[in-house]
């Protein structure tokens, strides 16, 4: 049974920020409801107000400027999947969006909701780590920009202040010499929550099998999404020219992940899968001459 709540619907960003300021934290923001409604039904929401931002047009859309791609938080997963700009500049994120839930959930759920929800298994978050995304947070009093890595505190917890709203997600456009992947292991091929997911972005050097820069992140294997800096360093410092070498580098995931056992998978399996998914993803790229699909 859903408890009685005070429902507010903001039509503009200004209105939403005003309401957030007044309600002083006793409020849950509704971006689409694919997760919030489930939590409401399970009596897991302690706040007494709902702020519906779904009709704020200024928070929806994808645009590119000279260096960066901006994805506004109310953009749905389906809109990202269908976007040419995302295809070109954010292939890692696009693959992650494609793997979310089902067509219905992708049509409804938004990237901003996925980020603010801060699930340790959130598919788009791992991809945003790999894309080195930044988040713009805005309140009535001002705005700030924070790196996606610094945003998350723990499962469901972020540094978002009670009066703040996520208003922009942006990251460097992927260049021609950049490649990457997103891989997800779930209990089935659709409507699945990640048992483990991994995302990587690699900036290739002219020299074959060498990388200028690597970013690797894992989901569902720690209280928040985590980056594998040791793996990144290894990828940047090696000539990645054989499956054996990839295997060796992938094994460094051991030092990155700290999973738990739950009803979906055991700690041990998640540990091994962090390695194997990264291995599989890198190997597929290697076999494809490091070209992204």
């Amino acid at each position: 049974m859903i408890k009685e709540l005070n429902y507010h619907r903001a039509k503009t960003l200004q209105e939403a920020l005003e309401l957030l300021d007044q309600l002083k934290g006793d409020v849950k923001v509704l971006a689409a409801g694919t997760d919030l409604v489930v939590r409401l039904k399970s009596n897991m929401v302690k706040e007494n107000h709902i702020l519906d931002i779904t009709s704020i047009k200024e928070l929806k859309g994808i645009y590119a400027d000279e260096n960066e791609l901006h994805i506004l938080p109310l953009t749905t997963h389906s809109e990202i999947v269908e976007s040419d700009k995302a295809q070109r500049y954010a292939s890692v994120l696009l693959d992650a969006c494609r793997s979310v839930g089902s067509p219905q959930i992708r049509n409804r759920g938004t990237i901003g909701g996925n980020v603010a929800n801060a699930s340790p298994a959130g598919d788009t978050i791992t991809a945003l780590f790999a894309q080195e995304a930044k988040l713009k947070l805005k309140s009535k009093k001002g705005e700030r920009v924070i790196s996606v890595e610094d945003f998350f505190v723990g499962p469901g917890r972020t540094t978002l202040q009670p009066n703040e709203l996520l208003v922009d997600i942006f990251f460097p456009k992927m260049k021609e010499n950049e490649t990457g992947f997103f891989k997800k292991l779930g209990q089935r091929n659709a409507l699945a929550i990640s048992v483990v997911n991994v995302a990587a972005k690699l900036e290739k050097l002219k020299e074959k099998n060498k990388f200028q820069r690597a970013v690797v992140a894992f989901g569902a294997v720690a209280p928040t999404i985590v980056r594998g800096k040791n793996i990144e360093k290894a990828l940047e410092d090696s000539v990645v020219d054989s499956p054996e070498k990839i295997r060796y580098i992938a094994q460094l995931a051991w030092r990155v992940v700290s999973p738990i056992s739950d009803v979906r998978a055991s700690l041990k399996y998640r540990q091994d899968m962090s390695i194997n998914l990264l291995y599989e993803g890198l190997l597929e790229l290697f076999n494809n001459n490091w070209e992204r699909r």
Partner: protein, 766 residues
């Protein structure tokens, strides 16, 4: 096979349009003026004494009309198809976490839910028993005073020990199967309503309205004639709506409040509260000669029925009956236990105990084929039961036996034809391994010996020259209703549009037994044929009189009687109906009643055994296993099925595909996890049923048949056998792909990965 207009053809479902457009009203869609909402208060512990139940706070909540407890049950506070060991509302003890303790009726759903939380129950938790083998131990906590063994069935034939001595190869393994959930779309839902004449109407989707009626009569102390059960339409059942669920509580609340009361279970409450497929532990020992001839088979079977019996006993017995597969086995020892635990409740589920023993036996067969280097089809053919053979449990098979037909049919499947060209590894991704697997099964049709088994149909001639057929059987998705329409249209020589089918209503249909045991088409269909033959005789006589000819000179064709050699003179059914209304003021009605043939022997100490008629099927799966993750993808499936003559070809295809997919879920992902009596997978986020993306794009369906003269147009039934061997076909394919042997289902990615890793370790240490 005769030349038929409808039988064997692809006929669109008669209910397709109303279902596709959403016009059909399921029980959960029903609404009546002045209707209340009911909510059931369920146990907080898997095993506890009830010290006190205080309903006062709940009763004081505005909007609450009544709160009922065991004290309010007017009749026997118990239900259960075999023995009524499950309380409608618990009095002194709860035995599983879903046990019903009290129920509320209130003006709104929200008030009912709130009130349910206000019912105060004082419990004294008791130690639980959650392992069926441990439960047999005398010192284990007792779920029921009578002890934890609900049923023990032992069948011994020949001398297995002698057989094992004679064997060249003995294969011994222990198997484990999961607790599958039916996962029907519509949860247990319905409305009970007291009519002005004092009749209690119970609208709740179920599989046998007439049995619901007598069970409700006993609980509610009400003349069964004063209870009307409407159990159609149903949004899926798969066996999970064979037993009563919410109906006694609905009835109780409606009688008490004298207002309509509705209950719709949430998915979570549905999963926790009601039936599952019995998880089983099966210890197998099989002895064969070098040439593959089976000489002995020993099986110990432990079935976890949970807190109450329901159909657990018969489920165990079917598992026992089919434990050796459709093979000639001279020396047999099967020892089966159906055991009470505090693990929820288990009951009827498509396959009814057979998929469990099939998983074990067909893995044994695959191991034997591999060890002896015999082709898996040839090994099975060598041992296949044929008509006239003695079945493993000792009865002679005198009805249709399709073992060889389905095995020969395998050669027609694309998977088998292409097996030699299968690339065992993906060349681009060598960590992806491919394989194919085969498994064979059979399934008794009907309830078995000693149980009254019959079909009943009522057939009415209508003013427009059409017919209404009423059968107590329920179409919960199989397409039985369409089959009846085809059967009546074929028998009455009229267009299928002229046949209206009424199902599952104690007022409007004949008792035709339960919609279970793959018996719907066979029993209700045969009863419909009998009713139709009677109707044809009557109509012919009446038409002959009107046309003033000898009735033997009349031929029925396209809804018209024509005179032999004088086709220009005829009488349409519609004209006949109008004449009869004018002259006789009424239209004829006939009934068909068909007693199902049963075996002429009984197996000692095994209630219901043996069955007389069986359906047979061979299942094939092609898989890709990702050895990095353990994920199995079924890339193609095939089934060859002998369920007698196919009545509706597209219905056959759909049911085979559905059966395969349900078996795929059973084999790979589906398991209701219960730890210390507490459910861990209560909705479809954690209870993993396959989606369209998890199922193969191609499932080949091939019907074959060995004539079964007793069935309607030689039909038997396919509902269960089509799911029975899919899981072992897949796990045998996993072995074929990877070399890893699966002894436990579901073969989750994690399980397969773990086994692959162990395998690798063992190989490295050699």
């Amino acid at each position: 096979m005769g030349d038929y207009k409808y039988i064997g053809k692809s006929v669109p479902r008669i209910d397709a349009a109303e279902k596709a457009t959403g016009h059909i009203k399921y029980m959960s869609d029903l609404s009546f003026p002045d209707m209340l909402w009911g909510k059931i208060v369920r146990s907080k512990y898997p095993h506890a004494k009830i010290k006190n139940i205080d309903t006062s706070k709940a009763e004081q909540l505005p909007g609450v009309v009544t709160v009922v407890t065991w004290k309010d049950v007017p009749g026997l506070n118990g239900f259960g198809i075999v023995i009524p060991d499950q309380p409608v509302l618990c009095e002194d003890k709860v035995r599983y976490i879903g046990d019903a303790v009290a129920a509320v009726a209130a003006e709104t759903k929200e008030i009912a839910e709130k009130a349910a939380e206000l019912v105060e129950v004082e419990y004294e938790p008791l130690p639980i028993v959650d392992d069926p083998i441990k439960a047999i131990d005398e010192n284990s906590p007792k779920v029921h005073e009578s002890g934890n063994i609900h049923l023990h069935t032992k069948i011994v034939r020949g001398d297995v020990e002698k057989g094992f001595e004679e064997a060249d190869l003995v294969v011994e393994n222990t198997y484990y199967t999961g607790r599958q959930e039916h996962a029907f779309l519509e949860t247990e839902s319905g409305v009970a309503k007291l009519e002005e004449d004092g009749t209690l109407s119970v609208y709740a989707g179920s599989q046998y309205p007439q049995r619901d009626q007598i069970q409700l009569s006993r609980c509610l102390a009400l003349n069964p004639r004063k209870i009307r059960v409407v159990s159609y339409p149903v949004g899926g059942a798969f066996g999970g709506k064979d037993e009563l669920t919410i109906q006694p509580i609905l009835g109780l609340l409606a009688l008490k409040t004298k207002r309509p009361v509705k209950i719709v279970l949430s998915r979570e409450e549905s999963i926790i509260s009601y039936w599952k497929r019995h998880p089983m532990t099966l210890k197998y020992k099989t002895g064969v000669k070098k040439d593959g001839t089976i000489v002995a088979n020993k099986a110990e079977i432990y079935a976890d029925t949970g807190a109450y019996g329901s159909l657990g006993g018969p489920v165990l017995n079917l598992s026992v009956e089919h434990a050796c597969g459709p093979y000639r086995v001279p020396n047999v020892y099967i020892d089966g236990y159906c055991v009470y635990t505090n693990n929820g409740v288990a009951g009827a589920f498509r396959g009814f105990g057979v998929p469990q023993s099939t998983f074990a036996m067909e893995t044994q067969m695959d191991i034997i084929a591999e060890k002896l280097g015999i082709d898996p089809v040839e090994l099975r053919k060598k041992n296949a039961l044929r008509r006239g053979d003695t079945a493993p449990i000792g009865n002679k098979l005198t009805s249709s036996v399709g073992t060889l037909a389905v095995l020969d049919g395998i050669k027609e499947t694309d998977i088998w034809k292409n097996r030699d060209s299968l690339q065992k590894s993906d060349p681009k991704k060598p960590w992806i391994k491919r394989g194919i697997g085969l498994a064979l099964t059979y399934q008794g049709t009907g309830l078995g010996v000693g149980l009254p088994d019959y079909g009943g149909a009522i057939l009415k001639f209508r003013g427009d020259g059409g017919f209404i057929v009423g059968v107590g059987i329920v179409d919960y998705g199989q397409g039985t209703g369409t089959s009846y329409a085809q059967i009546v249209a074929e028998a009455m020589k009229c267009s299928i549009d002229k046949v209206k089918v009424i199902l599952g209503d104690t007022d409007l249909t004949e008792d035709s037994g339960p919609t279970s045991a793959s018996r719907g088409v066979y029993t209700g269909g045969r009863a419909s044929v009998i009713a139709a033959d009677r109707m044809m005789k009557i109509l012919k006589e009446k038409a002959a009189k009107i046309l003033d000819v000898d009735k033997n000179d009349l031929i029925a064709k396209n809804g018209t009687f024509v005179i032999k050699n004088h086709p220009e003179t005829n009488l349409t059914y519609e004209q006949l109906a109008l004449e009869l209304i004018k002259k006789e003021y009424h239209l004829p009605q006939t009934e068909g009643y068909f007693l199902m043939p049963v075996a002429n022997v009984k197996i000692k100490d095994a209630f219901g055994l043996p069955h007389h008629i069986f359906a047979y099927s061979a299942h094939l799966a092609k898989v890709e296993v990702n050895t990095l993750t353990g994920q199995t993808k079924v890339t193609e499936g095939a089934e060859v099925v002998d369920g007698g003559i196919v009545v509706n070809r597209q219905g056959f295809e759909a049911q085979v595909e559905g059966g395969f997919v349900q078996g795929l879920g059973y084999g790979l992902t589906e398991d209701t996890k219960i730890e210390k009596g507490i459910f861990k997978t209560v909705n479809f986020s954690t209870y993993i049923i396959p989606t369209a993306k998890d199922t193969p794009a191609k499932i080949q369906t091939i019907p074959v048949y060995d004539p079964e003269e007793t069935g309607p147009y030689e039909a038997k039934g396919i509902a269960e056998t089509v799911t029975g061997a899919t899981a072992p076909a897949i796990t045998n394919a996993i072995h074929n792909a990877t070399g890893v042997r699966i002894f436990k289902i579901p073969a989750t990615s994690e399980l397969v990965y773990t086994l692959l890793k162990e395998n690798e370790k063992n190989e490295n240490s050699h």
